[in-house]
């Protein structure tokens, strides 16, 4: 089960089984989308399956996630989503109004993100053989000019940027499950990050080395993957990492680290130092980018590792998530 939580086990599954058997030898660092060459034209392509409980939650629902998630995977790979195909696995007995609400949510999210849904497929499985509904979206995208994403281009001194507060989505879902007697005024951050990515590329395109949307496994897992892929150290400044008080509070209470909590509407970028100010200015002026921050920088040491430093001189290693984040009680 841990293989789905986006952390170490997921990566092992991909690197140990899927990549060698499906992609052939040495696929290079694994990004959020692949590039395919069709008669000399390069397009970006990616796919993602969405499984979420409950189906709807404050700020969004599975349908919106399914559109935004794939649009975002393309965006942080430097591509604008052009078309999506969608595939549903439905549990027999799912009320039609639930399905209709999700299809409407997808249509709206697609309009908002400026992407066409071009084709689809549906399968119904026996009652009890699936949990209500699963949605898979596959997207193709046009490569954006003026940016190249490659973790191996990351250099010592580069700045690590975050588009806004982390943890909103994961904590919203945790609370929406209703298993904790906790309530908070919090919404999922699900949205298309494409407008922010485009603003960033316009302002700092040549300086952008890498981008990623830190979904399951959180920012810590994305940055650990980057640290491994480029062999450098990611040093974060704890007081610069934007986290809402409600998310911090819930994490404190449950013994979780906001850096391990999932996001659906934020992205991380590594930018060369001379472009860092322009990048932050551009993000801050773009709608929904007001809380963007430089949260750290790339250093030679600790190689292959993410280190969080505090204002008073303490530091800690933040590893990838192992399995799902489990609250600590006793």
């Amino acid at each position: 089960m841990a293989h789905g939580a986006g952390g170490k086990a997921s990566r092992k599954l991909v690197e140990g089984l899927f990549a060698p058997l499906l992609f052939g030898a040495a696929p290079g660092p694994l990004g959020d989308a692949a590039q395919v060459d069709i008669d000399g034209t390069k397009v970006a392509i990616t796919t993602d399956s969405f499984v979420v409980k409950p189906l709807t939650f404050p700020g969004g629902s599975i349908g919106e996630l399914a559109v935004n998630g794939t649009v975002n995977d393309l965006a942080v790979s430097g591509a604008r989503a052009e078309a999506l195909v969608v595939s549903y696995v439905l549990e027999a007995g799912l009320p039609t109004q639930v399905l209709e609400a999700e299809v409407r949510a997808m249509a709206k999210a697609a309009r908002d993100a400026g992407v066409r849904i071009a084709a689809g497929d549906t399968k119904v499985v026996e009652h009890g053989k699936a949990d209500q509904m699963y949605v898979t979206t596959t997207g193709i995208g046009r490569l954006l000019h003026g940016v190249t994403i490659d973790p191996r281009s990351v250099r010592v001194g580069d700045r690590i940027l975050l588009s806004g507060p982390i943890g909103d989505h994961g904590i919203t879902i945790l609370l929406a499950r209703g298993e904790l007697d906790l309530e908070a005024d919090l919404r999922s951050d699900t949205r298309s990050v494409l407008p922010l990515v485009e603003a960033l590329i316009r302002a700092a395109g040549p300086g952008i080395r890498w981008m990623r949307d830190p979904t399951r496994g959180g920012a810590a897992t994305s940055l650990n993957e980057l640290a491994r892929d480029c062999g450098l150290g990611m040093v974060l400044f704890e007081d610069q990492i934007p986290v809402r008080d409600t998310v911090r509070g819930a994490c404190e209470l449950l013994g979780l680290d906001p850096l391990h909590i999932a996001n659906e509407g934020q992205f991380l970028a590594v930018v060369s130092p001379e472009y860092a100010d322009a990048a932050i200015n551009a993000l801050s002026l773009a709608p929904g980018g007001g809380e963007a921050q430089v949260i750290g920088e790339v250093r030679e040491q600790p190689a292959g590792t993410v280190l969080v430093t505090t204002l008073y001189g303490g530091s800690r290693i933040v590893d990838m998530l192992v399995g799902d984040p489990l609250p600590r009680i006793c």
């Binding site: 089960m1 298993e179 192992v322 009680i329």
Partner: protein, 375 residues
Amino acid sequence: MRYVDEFREPELISKTADEIRRLAGTERHYRMMEVCGGHTHAIYRFGLKDILPENIELIHGPGCPVCVLPMGRIDDGLAIAHEPDVIFAAFGDMMRVPGTQGSPLEHKARGMDVRIVYSPSDALKLARLNPDKHVMFFAIGFETTAPSTALTMMRAKAEGVRNFSVFCNHVTIIPAIRAILDSPDMRLDAFIGPGHVSTVIGCRPYEWIARNERKPIVVSGFEPLDMLQSIVMLLRQLKAGEAKVENQYKRVVPWEGNRAALRAIAEVFQLRPYFEWRGLGFISQSALRINDKYAEWDAEQRFAVPGIRVTDPKAAQCGEVLKGVLKPHQCKLFGRECTPEHPIGALMVSSEGSCAAYHNYEYRKAAMVSLSSIA
């Protein structure tokens, strides 16, 4: 955030760290044990080792409930859950702790009905919602969590909920501290006393440590400033040649403890004559069992418990690490056979376990320092 940010104030932390350096001087070495796993976690999470002088050594104590639980108890609990129509309910802390045939989460993946609950009363709620099933709550924890288990059982009895039971693994902190002090290979100067346990038992139960063993003990909170202030208080006692019990965590811990919570414990539990602790062996009167008034809600009395005993792998040195004789990375299996993904001992599982904390937060940092010193 209130009650958090003011205890992480960088300027105050720096000042307190300066005071620690001044008091500690350079002449001698200080060995202080933080009894509680929550403190161990805080030390690594806030990187407190980075700001303490080298001659203050923090030794991680036995106060991590899942770490001291012998593997046989996990096997016993899972054996009960193999009975038809039993739901195994436990805190998230337990879910990755390995039994002989895997952790509760691995049993869940193979089809066992395993639920994570956030309090014992959630497990009782589960029982009410599933009248045709039996819900067994796998109870763990020191005196911190024992009262909520007790209150839940009192409620189950009052409401006549009969498809609910508790597999009790509650342990008590004082005998564990005594076992550490009696251990011949242990040299300690002082204790950072457990915070949450003390909200229940108060500070009096520690008085013998000061009086008979001549060791200072300061009951401490869990924020960086709490812990640093506690170290200041311990150093002041040591410099003055004193040994007393002090309470740094006054905002939460009453000196006399929580009488209502203690009454609930006394209503439901009685001391076991002895209990096995992982790494520390059998300790007399160190754990709680459910008394006869609540026998109907006692999983050990309702079900046939196999009473499995499992010896830890020979190479694993969990006991030495638990007692603070070895540092986590000095164990032969650390970071090789035993990692957070493939834990052999529970110390590598719980975020309060010193091995997991060291592995997650510290040891690559240590490797980095040794690398740079070679270069």
